[in-house]
Symmetry: C2
Subunit: 324 residues, 2 copies
Amino acid sequence: MPDYFIGIDLGGTNIKMGIFDENVKLLNSISSPTNAQEGPDVIINRMAEMSRQICAENDIEYASLKAIGVGAPGPSNIAEGIVVAAPNLPKFRNVPIKQMIKDRTRKVCVFENDANAACYGEYVVGAGRGADNMVFLTLGTGIGGGIITNGHIIHGFMDNAAELGHIIIEMDGRLCGCGQRGCVEAYASATSTVKRAVEALQAGRQSSLMEIYKQKGTVTAKDIYTESAKGDALALEITEGTAKALGILCVSLLHVTGPRRILFAGGMIAAGDALLGRIRHYYNKYLWPLKPEQMEICFATLGESAGMIGAAALACEFGNGSCL
Amino acid sequence: MPDYFIGIDLGGTNIKMGIFDENVKLLNSISSPTNAQEGPDVIINRMAEMSRQICAENDIEYASLKAIGVGAPGPSNIAEGIVVAAPNLPKFRNVPIKQMIKDRTRKVCVFENDANAACYGEYVVGAGRGADNMVFLTLGTGIGGGIITNGHIIHGFMDNAAELGHIIIEMDGRLCGCGQRGCVEAYASATSTVKRAVEALQAGRQSSLMEIYKQKGTVTAKDIYTESAKGDALALEITEGTAKALGILCVSLLHVTGPRRILFAGGMIAAGDALLGRIRHYYNKYLWPLKPEQMEICFATLGESAGMIGAAALACEFGNGSCL
């Protein structure tokens, strides 16, 4: 009887669940609104029900389900399996989610934060495959990520590792939402890319973005990349600023954990080669000429499923009963 | 019969060797000039002779010597135990030092680069004790270091990890010896601290350092800290610049590997609290106010013995025959 594993991505909007075989191959997935206001008890009960449901719907005996992996947002205590707080799940305060899932499903549960889970998913079956040392970065409202060294996610003391958006790339630079100055996130997240453009427009810079800004009251990262592609000087300057900040970040990351590969994920990678090519350009420009480096910079490939897949991969890897 | 271990720090000037018990307690040490021009064969033969000598002199049967750890400079292939190149050992090009020591001593040999060995020494018996996640930084001609996560040295792909002096803290900032711009090393190494002072003096800045500069044609980091303590404005500005760069580095390192402790080592820590207190000041100033952080910033305590001790600690930890 083959073994099966479940991966869950608990988000503020949806619970995404997949059932996987022993090779972390996705067999099927289901989704349900989180209804965050219902609080942890109801939501975790629903996750347990969904686990039984996904097995039944796929003709998998519940006994063959070996472990459940769950990725959840927010500051958390990974070893204890506790969601400490989560901006998108306001009723989750110090919720022992790992134990609660175990109690309700009678299965081994493996817990990880969502960014680390996505990182692990990319490592096991995505663009990070084979890169035992890698860094994963998501470009969204903020910049988050995860780090793999020697095939393992690094957590750091008090799970402090991999707050990668808050690496400082400019002394006394732009103010970041976190309160620090000069964080890479203050330059290169989707939000900061937009903010830099809006600031320039408000300062009266000529740009084809101005029309959009006047109509909508703002611009999107997509607008900026579209106008940049058409040759608008301001839009180009903004997208170059984003790529430069990320290129410099890659140089610094190379020198800290020595990754073989850095993967970018998140909504902004829709910009495609216009982003990736320029990140590589600035990485090469700012990197030392001392010796050739073989680090690769790529896009992630699992999209929004990365967290769910990574949670399943963790269940596969660590759900052997030792963490019961 | 208790087991014994040898730790060797192979430097460009001296070979330092210690004999240790199973608890990494130093029993005795000897030293010999490296005579780098003699090349790897002669030098490694001498290391083997010294191993027999140190056992004999301390009434330790050679059979009780279980393993030898060696730390060596330069780019190296850690897993294979090869010194690829070493500026201070110009005849060491692709030298399979681990195998050569094993052949000449008939003992298990564990190899590590010198900065990682010193890092591990501090972790096992120095100021890093108990900090399973830590970062070690040496402030000298350059800035080097090592990183421990989950109790293990991280090496990265192609042993690229922990080139910590080349983390970029300022976009398009000062030119570093490595060819990059804005590296922390370009601000805060002993050499760069001196360089920033000399630049200011050459630009005609008033300072009590000017007298020293005119006499000696240069100033030392020690001069700068001495004059800074006496209240000289330029000297103070320079030492503050060093501390600020290191404080910002600590913020970034916290956000990458999440260390519990960051240790500073190297000649410049002779500046004492005038340096450490200010690094902590700038770390706290530039750190986010989002949540309290418990990371500690301290000085290393093993001084120039750290590498030798760390090499012995690695021999103790990994010299169980599995790497023969």
